[in-house]
């Protein structure tokens, strides 16, 4: 548990579990993820997103993405396909996420998902990133 998060202000972990940090637009309350930074960031305030939601869509990344931008420590031979998708956090926003699941064929649109963290073997140093997992 020495790993640092892959980016600041991306997610938080406390007694109630892992929550992503989104941005709520001050003018109309619209929620986005991640929290915008820079000039645009001044129009948003941080908001703690729901830790559970439903699977909106999903796929499996079967080949190693091109580097850059991909920064996995793996190579063409050692790359392991991973699932990813969108999770709808009710009344808030639909977020894109890597999905931690042993058998991607289990994934079904509408199933309950829960936020968590996972080590991402980034080139240079392993870091902590957010994931969603099927709830139960």
């Amino acid at each position: 548990m020495a790993e640092r998060p892959i980016a600041a202000n991306l997610f938080e972990e406390n007694g109630t579990g892992v929550r992503l940090i989104g941005g709520r637009r001050k003018s109309d309350g619209k929620i986005v993820f991640p929290l915008p930074t820079g000039v645009e960031g001044t129009q948003y305030e941080p908001v703690s997103l729901a830790s559970e939601g439903t699977l909106w869509s999903h796929t499996v990344q079967r080949f190693r993405p091109k580097s850059p931008p991909y920064a996995g420590a793996d190579d063409e031979r050692t790359f392991k396909p991973f699932a990813l998708g969108y999770v709808e956090l009710p009344g808030q926003v639909i977020v894109e996420t890597r999905i931690d699941v042993d058998d991607p064929s289990r994934l079904k649109v509408g199933m309950k998902m829960k936020a968590g963290t996972q080590t991402f073997a980034k080139e240079g140093e392993p870091v902590l990133t957010y994931v969603f997992r099927p709830a139960a």
């Binding site: 909106w56 796929t59 079967r62 091109k66 639909i94 977020v95």
Partner: protein
């Protein structure tokens, strides 16, 4: 206001051409379009042209002739060709000009694109963790659609099977080899549920059209399809597009839905008036979803329509009669104009080997990043 007609159409075959630049292929297409109409470059009062990755289109001027013609470079992502057409259409419709050319060409490196997160205004971690791939977007859009509307993987395979069948009959296509649905289904999985044969590839090619006013057409003694309606639209809130770390909970229409509605309204026709359609098929699922987004059927009806062969040549609504992007590949700047080229051939009854009998109204729609769609409707 003038009516606008297409009296000449040219195309450089799509595919891989190691000995030619993208520009060479654009010049080839323009020369062919001029010859098709029997007009000369010096007669052109305007040109609109674009490429995404093969340089400035106006670099063709020294090749075509330094006539002083107004040449405007168009750059509008995947709708570059469609936008060049729209610009030429307006130039004539406004009454300002009587004759001109629109063109698009491209040449891309092999394999998937590798975008820079910062250029897209996205955080680095998004690309670093492997979530910035267009293939994933297409896979997730069709996965949700299949779940909600009962589309099966076999239907995805049938779309690709038809594309390769039609491509084998079109002189300008890249893929000439028919591939059966079982082979397509069993080929390497790229991003579930889409296999290798269900995706189009970046490619090379060029296309060009000669546009004239109705007055000029009579004067020259020419004929050609009329542009009944043309529209480009960009994304609105709630539209699902590439490279989106989050989406609005409140969903909205796609840019294709709104461009399509606008073009039908301009043309004063309904989707069931269309005889032949060329619609964006970046992958098999896109063709299925675009059938509905362009108004040709309700969500979910594709399953039955495609299994009955409705979208094949000879079916109720033939779609992508030259094999579309799946069989032609996707040179971004040229792709939208290829669709219009194919409709011109269909409406002029020149689509040898793939002719849709009695085709009077042709529809084309190109869609792409970062969320825009261009529609053109032609009448024979």
């Amino acid at each position: 206001m003038s009516e606008v007609h297409i009296v000449g159409a040219g195309i450089h075959p799509f595919g891989r051409h190691d000995d030619k630049t993208g520009l060479d292929q654009g010049v080839f297409a323009v020369r062919q379009a001029l010859a098709d109409a029997g007009v000369a470059w010096k007669d052109m009062q305007f040109a609109f042209g674009g490429s995404s990755a093969a340089g400035n289109a106006d670099a063709m001027l020294p090749h075509m002739g330094l006539t002083g013609v107004q040449f405007i470079n168009v750059s509008n992502g995947c709708a570059t060709g469609g936008s060049a057409l729209l610009s030429g259409y307006w130039a004539i419709k406004s009454g300002e000009f009587d004759i001109g050319v629109v063109t698009g060409f491209d040449k891309h490196p092999r394999g998937a694109f590798n975008p820079d997160p910062e250029a897209w205004g996205l955080p680095k971690w998004y690309g670093e963790t492997g979530m910035m791939l267009t293939t994933q977007f297409f896979a997730m859009k069709i996965t949700r659609y299949m779940g909600l509307h009962g589309i099966t993987p076999m239907t995805l395979a049938r779309v690709a099977e038809k594309a390769f069948e039609n491509g084998a009959r079109a002189p300008h296509s890249w893929r000439k080899q028919p591939v059966d649905a079982e082979t397509i289904l069993r080929s390497q999985m790229v991003s579930d549920p889409l296999t290798k044969f269900m995706f189009c590839s970046p490619a090379e090619g060029g296309a060009a059209l000669v546009l004239v006013s109705d007055k000029k057409m009579r004067e020259l003694g020419l004929t050609g399809p009329r542009i009944l309606g043309a529209a480009v639209r960009t994304r609105v809130n709630g539209s699902f597009e590439v490279f989106a770390p989050s989406l609005d909970v409140e969903r909205g229409p796609s840019p294709t839905q709104i461009a399509s509605k606008a073009a039908y309204a301009m043309a004063g026709i309904e989707p069931n008036d269309i005889d032949v359609a060329q619609i964006q098929d970046t992958e098999s699922g896109a063709e299925i979803m675009h059938m509905s987004e362009n108004g040709f059927c309700a969500d979910g009806e594709q399953e039955k329509l495609i299994s009955e062969g409705a979208t094949q040549i000879g079916g109720k609504l033939p779609i992508n009669t030259d094999g579309g992007c799946l069989a032609c590949g996707e040179p971004i700047g040229a792709s939208g104009l290829r669709q219009v080229y194919e409709n011109v051939q269909q409406l002029r009854r020149r689509a040898t080997g793939r002719q849709v009998e009695g085709a009077k109204i042709g529809y084309s729609q190109v869609y792409g990043a970062p969320g825009l769609s261009a529609v053109a409707i032609l009448g024979a």
